[in-house]
Amino acid sequence: MASVHESLYFNPMMTNGVVHANVFGIKDWVTPYKISVLSLLYEMTTSKIALQEKRRLNKLILPLQQGPDLQLGQFLKTVEDCCPQTAFAVKIRLNEMADGELKDMEFFFTTLPNPTFDSEAYKTSVVGLFIRHMLLAYNKLSFSQVYKLYKSLQHYYHMGVPTFVADDSDMDLTSTEVTIGDKMERELDSPLTFCVRNEDPVSRGPLSQKQAEYFLAKQAYLLKNDDNKALRPAKLQEELNNMLKFNPDFAEAHYLNYLNSMRVQDIYISTHSLLHYFDRLILSGSEGKSNGDEGYGRSLRYAALNLASLHCRFGHYQLADLALQEAIRIAQESNDHVCLQHCLSWLYTLEQMKGSDSSVLTEDSVKMAAHFCLPYLASLGIQSLVQQGAVQGKSAHELMDALKDTDILHWKHSLSELIEISLAQTISIWRMYGKSTMAQQQAQLLLNMSSLEPVNFGVTQNNTEAFAVALCHLAELHAEQGLYGGTTEIFKHLKEQFPPHTQHAKLWMLCDLKIQFEKHMNDGKYHLAQPLVPAIRAQNKTEGLYRKAQVLKSLSRTTEAYRILQKLQVHCEKTRCTETIIRVLLSTAELHWESSDFSTGLPLLLQALTLSRKHHLQALASRTLLHLAFTQLMLGVPEQALSVLHEALEPILAHGGIMDKGRALMLAARCQMALVATRPNGREQAAVAIHTLDEAASYFSTLNCKERLRDVRYLQARLHSSLGQTAQRNRCAMLFHLLDRELQTPRAPTDMRL
């Protein structure tokens, strides 16, 4: 039994079982706000206004006409800022209508200037079209609708007027220009206008078609580029629900809902909204095209593709694969090459995410995309190829060439998004090769680049992945140089720009943890570094294992560390993660040193050297050389060690981190010390060694790495002693003593570590 009070209402919007949102094809409806704009136009054409004020008003017309409906108070204030006299006239006119009778409004519409050829409002001008639209819409209204319009006009007027204070004394003509500009910007660009207006419970109502479209477009743009500036997820959801309640046929709102729930990682609602959107879209597609095949089938294909991307985002690779296959199948059946290209690019992305080699697929994709003139997909493919090539150790000039070529393409088609990605990729590649200066320069380039988007809603810097990557690299570069103040600043910015719940926040979180870890390790505060390991492991398993091994090594739990490193090496060889392999090899060699087993480490180091040379990883190669030199020193061939060291010293001093620089110099000094006895010019050598140690000490002191500083002082004291410089010796010894007391930990044998 139906509910007793179920209303039987006839829906006039429905024909042939299909509800049309727009029966008469009219997009513009007469609203009280529009009447206010009309009266403004009327005043402008009839009364005499000073030229300067007229100019200001003219500038105002377009945003007023095309923007969302404003409250009367806001509207009058805006007009008043340009020309108080006109604002007053408009207010009087509206007052006449609102406090008068229905006939006053009817009279107003009849007296509206009819746009003709000679009048100011030319027939086909923006203003002319607007007036004609409004007249047409007004004339189509039925009697009761006209009455309703009048009622809402009265309501609008009485809502708006009390808040409006005509404050003429405050007007300062010289400053108006600036305030208008500011005001317009604020009203049109800030998302706040919407919230403020809608929070007002009385004025809160449905948005008009145009307002809704504007709202959706803006929020979608912000979600893509800077979701901090978009409405909070819950608030946005509320707005969308409100919008959908009033117009369930507004399909785009479902799509925005999908994006919004993706933001909060809600797979349930996002799937639901995505499918709902495409269900709606399929309808509008078939409606637009008479044959129904083109628009309709097309959205089906993209629906399946979008579903695949959704599952991909949530890491459901198997489901994504199935959805993608489906998309590919229907795209093939209907010979839609463009869609197929999109599918292909998703296919290789998916393969990559699954960890399998997909370079062949990617190459195919690039070729086909170029053939079908799809620059976006083509350069996306190239970027993906570059990434794979870099990991596989392709030669640097090939990669850079490829990136340069795509850059030309991007600038030509102004694909700003891809330009950002390309720059971020360059930074990463330079960093991988160990060229810190180049990386830094590219990072600055990206960060200082102004946005290329034609419209931006006050977004100065996007919060896309590219920016996150660049900032993370920059933070790491700063940390390497011991500039921890800068690093903290960068992280502060990152935290603001990418709050912890957002998609790219994981990048900086891991980066932050790594830097903290390194810092504690350098300071010798292993107990502080240890708790960070599980946190790192939660973000990245491999990295976490590696760090764990390092901590264990420092705590002299050699067996455990060794086991972990072995496991890690096997794992990394499987995943072909060259950088980690090299680092693991180096750590393993260091483990061997602990047991004074220097020769066993040699093959490992040589392996690491070949690997790093093969992949052009200069920073790692230099570090490996350091290790080699140290081993040689320990094996009693300091001359060899020194020559090997000289090979590494230059790149380290040029590009390396401050820690590496210190270590290299200290090693050099030790080699020189070892040679003092054998060389004829022993005293000179010793003096050189002291000088080198001084340099190393300055590096260590910037890092505040007291343990190593203590070692340096010890060595210096011995050198001075051997040279018989008692005063200097005593000074160094005192410094050593001070540090030793401060550290309280017994000094590890210097010979045993690099």
Partner: protein, 585 residues
């Protein structure tokens, strides 16, 4: 208080253990509540109570309840009330409210408020037609509601509301989407005036799950049994509902058309088609001009493809009233059965024009568009159905089917899953899911679905066959044989011969299977049975020949066991060397 006497008559009843026995009392109560509701223009409650009263034996003259007491206030308001009531009956609500504004009696107050409410509703409906823009159409609301709420809540706090005004207050709250408060008020209304069916019905629409139902404290009146039965039907707890209705019938309401129709609907919901049909036929005999629930009846006739009956029903209903939602649905079904889908869709559209919130029509229209291969319109229709009621599993299933037709098996998984979620024990969704998984080559999932479909009671008897075929493809021969065996058992045990059964396929496979496993007696039995079916006859004979050849060669008869059973008609007895219970895919 003029009906205080009425409440007193109810109270002793509530305390009895089995108040339902006392039919005379119930009848008296019904008669008095009918007149109360009638005075207040609550027509639907009057109808319900009258239907029920009609089903009970007539009272002797001296037992009739006295015409109710007239209070001082009633006398004062008598003329104004009579005038207003006449305007109210003519749907001139504002006018009625105007003349009632000064009245003080409770009865007049209720009618005053009710007129204002209905006036607002009527205006809202009228406004919907000429709104100022497409986006404004959702904004149209009953302007009177807010004022009514303020006034009623004031009186409510003062405790001045009687059962009827409480009901109205609840309705106002519900319309303002204050559902929690509305439930409380309706519960209060049922306590003050248990016999007003309207409050119960509103409560029924607000209770969404069984936990919520359990948390309500309801008066223990005989009418509560009706409420419980109704809400069990709504919440798809059909066995409970049937039990309740059965006990009501036994208690003496056997002639009630209301109960018969409710039981029929319940049977329809659990797809016990024959029972439901029988009940509907009975209903039509007792109440030939009834239009309510006839759309459900026509659905049943449609499912059974009973063309002449459906045609008769359609013509009959058109004669009674052709502008009713139910009539349009029946005609739509009639055309659909005659494969005139355009006309069918047209009639469903008409039904929707009469009531856009008519859920069934949206779904049925979707089906019609599907038949017409107009998938996009079908999707729209189904989406509308879901908008009206998110829990409409048929619409979700229909959407799934649409995408399956568009050859998007992965895409439709989501919709089938939704449908399955809503009806976890419906084998059709499970079979559909299984088919999708099979198309996606997810055999493990597919097998799970088919097996589950069989476990929950497969109506179409297809799940096992599909399972067996799938296992055959995967060369899981033993499992496939098991499935076929259970399939044959199922087919033969259900007695009636279904159209699409593929017993021959099963027998053919089993024959080959036993032959390969050198169980020649079983194999020959299967082969013999194969010969009963046209499509498998040749193969059966060939298999028999093969068996006899092999037997000639080996000369080891071992079939003693089966000779005695071979003339038994059901193949169940003849199987099986395999242990059935160990079978799980």
């Amino acid at each position: 208080m003029f009906y205080s006497s009425f409440i007193i008559t109810v109270k002793p009843l509530e305390n009895r253990v089995k108040p339902i026995r006392d039919l005379v009392q119930i009848k008296k109560q019904l008669i008095s509540v009918i007149s109360l509701c009638k005075e207040r223009g609550l027509v639907h409650s009057v109808k319900w109570a009258s239907e029920l009263a009609f089903a009970l034996d007539p009272l002797p003259k001296d037992e009739l309840p006295p015409s109710h007491l007239v209070s001082e206030e009633d006398v004062q308001d008598l003329d104004a009330f009579a005038l207003a009531k006449s305007y109210f009956d003519l749907k001139e609500y504002d006018r009625a409210a105007y003349f009632l504004r000064g009245c003080h009696s409770k009865k007049a107050y209720f009618l005053y408020m009710y007129s204002r409410y209905l006036s607002g509703e009527k205006k809202k409906d009228d406004e919907t037609v000429d709104s100022l823009g497409p986006l404004e159409k959702g904004q149209v609301r009953n302007e009177a509601l807010r004022e009514l709420r303020v006034e009623l809540s004031k009186k409510h706090r003062a405790g001045e509301l009687d059962g009827f005004t409480l009901y109205l207050y609840g309705v106002v709250l519900r319309k303002l989407d204050l559902l929690k408060e509305a439930v409380e008020v309706f519960v209060e209304a049922t306590h003050t005036l248990p016999l007003h069916w309207g409050s119960w019905l509103e409560l029924c629409n607000l209770v969404t799950n069984i936990e919520m139902l359990k948390s309500l404290s309801l008066p223990s009146c005989w009418i509560k049994d009706f409420f419980m039965a109704h809400i069990y039907t709504e919440l798809q707890m059909i066995p409970g509902a049937l039990q309740k209705y059965q006990s009501l019938i036994e208690a003496g309401f056997s002639k009630s058309t209301y109960i018969i129709s409710q039981i029929a609907v319940a049977y329809h919901n659990i797809r016990d088609i024959d029972q439901a049909l029988a009940l509907f036929n009975e209903l039509r005999e007792q109440d030939p001009y009834r239009i309510e629930n006839m759309d459900t009846f026509s659905n049943l006739l449609y499912v059974k493809s009973m063309k002449p009956e459906l045609s008769y029903l359609a013509h009959n209903l058109v004669e009674i009233d052709k502008y009713r939602v139910e009539t349009c649905c029946v005609i739509g079904n009639y055309y659909s059965l005659r494969s005139q889908h355009e006309k069918a869709a047209l009639y469903f559209q008409r039904a929707l024009k009469l009531n856009p919130r008519c859920l069934g029509a949206w779904t049925l229209m979707g089906h019609e568009y599907m038949e017409m291969k107009n998938t996009s319109a079908a999707i729209q229709a189904y989406r509308h159905a879901i908008e009206v009621n998110k829990r409409d599993y048929r619409a979700w299933y229909g959407l799934g089917q649409t995408y399956e037709i568009l050859k998007m098996p992965f895409y439709c998984l989501y919709y089938y899953r939704k449908a399955h979620q809503l009806r976890p024990n419906d084998s059709r969704m499970l079979v559909a899911l299984g088919e999708c998984y099979e198309k996606l080559s997810q055999q493990v999932e597919a097998k799970k679905c088919y097996w589950r479909a069989f476990s929950v009671g497969d109506v179409e008897k297809m799940a096992l066959l599909k399972l067996a075929k799938l296992q055959e493809q995967l060369t899981e021969t033993d499992e496939a044989a098991q499935s076929y065996i259970i399939y044959i058992q199922e087919i033969f045990s259900c007695g009636e011969q279904l159209e699409h059964v593929e017993v021959s396929t099963a027998l053919r496979y089993l024959g080959q299977y036993y032959f390969k496993n050198k169980l020649y007696d079983e194999a020959s039995l299967c082969a013999q049975r194969c010969c009963d079916y046209n499509d498998a006859r040749e193969e059966g004979k060939a298999l028999l020949r093969q068996i006899s050849q092999v037997r000639d060669q080996t000369e080891t008869p071992s079939g003693e066991l089966f000779v005695s059973l071979s003339d038994n008609n059901t193949p169940i007895k003849r199987v099986s060397p395999l242990n059935l219970s160990s079978f799980t895919p």
